[in-house]
């Protein structure tokens, strides 16, 4: 022990003794609190009181102490009844392989307590088939740095383009509505019977997950050709999935860069015969996107994605292009291949153009201006049976499809904050026919990534 430490300890001991033995009246009184800040904040509160009026009036506290004593003494009586009260609801759907879907869904519990149980049962009128399943998910740890475990099983109709499923997006209700009303449905479907489990760990800014699934995948045929307007089906057939039981492991990571509004994600799926799977493939997809402000008037949203499938080129593991989130002049998923590259840059206005031009309109329907430029390609064996497109790591130059669009956008705020109903005037760029196309669609901003939409 150094001399300085000894001296310090001695001084502290003397100080403690002096304080301890000092007569009580001699003790220093705590200084009066500085009330000037309280008065300053009180002045601001007064203006708040004046603005909010009755809402700012404190609640009457009469009887609250006795209510608290009763509540503490009778905890079961006042416990929330809703914690284990199940939620029920109907569920409806429509597509050309299932036809009308009628059923119900339920949920009970909370993911942070014993877990949340969800289930759904639906009858598909087209093939006369019961579909449904259930799942349990549980989360623990504090928010932002938590673990999540989810186990699901059952029989469901899924889409061959798996990006939306891996992005955890809900059922495509608008796609069902378009199919029901006008027969407009470019989705390709398959059936999955089996179970899956996923363990995720979030530790901002990174989220990683590992998943396993054991599912029998089977092709589906079109069973329903009608629509409410008696229009024919926009896509009269359904691309068949390869039949077989798949055992697939998935590793997934997504990141939000700490200081920049940049988002990234990567997914690796592997299905091996040595794991008991019917298929042998490895599938990798990575995407990067950003959200920059152009003042308060617009947002600049660039995004890129790249994917490769090696091994067997089964249609349910292929990459697809087309639709409002990628290349709008092509119908959804109408181009396919074992590899994908796409870049897109959106400009999305934030101001209500109708208000800017002083055009009277309901407040519920502000319209924004926007536009985008996109270029993408798929290459490798074609799941639709066409000739294989040249390219290994990168596509041939002639495979790139490019377009620009001007858009009128309505952002309703539901079901996600950046969900957009957009009317695009799309014009192809580059060689080939330059037919301008008008397209009405629903999408969300930065749809090539899951990260932004989930926040």
């Amino acid at each position: 022990m150094t001399a300085r430490r000894v001296a310090a300890r001695f001084a502290i001991t003397c100080l403690a003794l002096a304080v301890g033995f000092a007569p009580a009246p001699a003790r220093a009184q705590p200084s009066a609190p500085d009330t000037t800040l309280d008065r300053f904040l009180g002045g601001l509160s007064d203006s708040t009181d004046a603005y909010f009026g009755r809402a700012a009036v404190p609640a009457d506290s009469t009887g609250l102490d006795s209510a608290l004593a009763y509540g503490l003494g009778h905890p079961k009586e006042l416990a929330r009844r809703g914690r284990w009260r199940p939620d029920f609801g109907p569920t409806l759907g429509f597509n050309r392989v299932d036809g009308p879907l009628y059923g119900g869904e339920f949920g009970v519990g909370r993911s942070r307590a014993l877990g949340r149980f969800d289930g759904r049962l639906r009858y598909a009128v087209g093939p006369n088939l019961w579909l449904g399943g259930g799942g349990w998910r549980r989360a623990w740890g504090r928010e932002g740095r938590d673990w999540q475990l989810a186990v699901n099983g059952g029989r469901e109709t899924a889409t061959l383009n798996r990006t939306a499923r891996q992005h955890g997006e809900p059922d495509d209700a608008l796609g069902d509505l378009q199919a029901l009303v006008g027969g407009v449905d470019s989705r390709r479907f398959l059936r999955r019977d089996g179970w899956s489990a996923r363990l995720s760990r979030s530790a901002s800014p990174l989220t990683v997950s590992a998943a396993w699934r054991d599912m029998l995948e089977s092709p589906r045929d079109v069973t329903t050709g009608w629509s409410l307007t008696h229009a024919g089906l926009s896509v009269p057939d359904n691309l068949h999935a390869a039949f077989g039981r798949v055992h697939e492991a998935t590793l997934d990571a997504s990141v939000r860069f700490p200081r920049w509004p940049i988002f990234g994600e990567a997914t690796y799926d592997v299905s091996r015969r040595v794991l008991g799977s019917a298929f042998e493939y490895r599938r990798t997809r990575a995407a990067l996107g950003a959200n920059f402000g152009l003042g308060r008037f617009a947002a600049l949203v660039p995004e890129v994605a790249y994917g490769r499938l090696s091994g067997e080129s089964v249609p349910q593991a292929a990459f697809y292009l087309g639709g409002p989130s990628t290349l709008g002049r092509f119908d959804g998923d109408s181009l396919g291949g074992t590899s994908l590259a796409i870049g897109r840059i959106d400009v999305i206005g934030a101001k209500d153009v109708l208000a800017l031009v002083h055009l009277p309109h309901p407040a519920a329907f502000p319209l924004q201006l926007g536009g985008y430029a996109a270029s993408g390609a798929v290459w490798g064996p074609d799941p639709y049976g066409g000739a294989a497109r040249p390219g290994v790591d990168w596509p041939g130059r002639e495979l790139w499809r490019s377009e620009v669009a001007a858009s009128l956008i309505y952002q309703p705020g539901l079901p996600t904050p950046t969900t957009m109903l957009r009317l695009d005037v799309v014009r192809p760029v580059g060689p080939g026919p330059r037919e301008t196309k008008l397209r009405l669609s629903v999408t969300r901003a930065m749809a090539l990534l899951r990260t932004f939409g989930e926040d």
């Binding site: 009330t35 800040l37 809402a55 929330r80 509004p261 600049l300 407040a363 309703p412």
Partner: protein, 285 residues
Amino acid sequence: MPLPFLSLLAAWLAAAAPSTSGPTLAREDTMHTEVSEVLVNAPRVTLDEILDRVARGEARRDSMMRDQSFRTSLRMVIKSASANPQLFLETISQVYKKRPDKVRSVLLRKWRMKIGKKDKGDKDDDDMQLDFGPGMGEEVVNFAFQPSARRDFKYRIVGRDLVGSHLVYRIAFTPRSPLDPTTPSGLVWVDTNEFVIVRQEVGFERSPVPLFLKGIPRMVIERTRVGDYWVLKRMLMRVQTTVPIPKIGSSFDIAVSFDDYKINQGLSDSLFTAAGATRGSESSR
């Protein structure tokens, strides 16, 4: 003392009093002095440094609290923009929190206006209650000042107020991108003695859900000091809807207030084993 003298004195005082109320000021102009100029070259604290200190101050505030109990009330006032606002619902609860993940709330009062003859009012209406998480970080106050929020917001110093021995910074924050309409902008008051946020006003550039909401013209979040800690005092918000809601109107206020705080009182674990106690984070409803 003779009465005429008193009358005379009163008349003289009345005549001598200035026409306006308040003290009479006199200026001393017979003495002069000069102080030589002193060049102060200490660097002014940068905005980045202030933001770092606010993040640290808020983290420190959070880490100092081991447990807390408070009483909270949720009130909704309808027809708030009219001349006759009405209390629509009121819920009061006593809340206990303890690190790391314990929370319990005891319902003290529940009341809701009946809408129509068949409506049972507050009976069987569980959605009226607030759920609380165990955290004491008060993210509703400091969400824009957490280190990870720097990528989402731009900041600027709007002003400084010298209040007694406190220097209060007013810092405005706005979203870096207008893409997400649910990201608010706002103004916070930061007491630089502890670098904690003492008040916040939040607004939205455009309606977050235009289909239903015309806008949220004003939202105020206030803190108050309880002992050594700054804690939530109340949150008030005015909501305007695009179409009038039957019986409610097109404007209503929501107020959540917090009082009767007790902090670090050493809450027993047994308090959290009863029915109604939960573990882990839960969102507010």
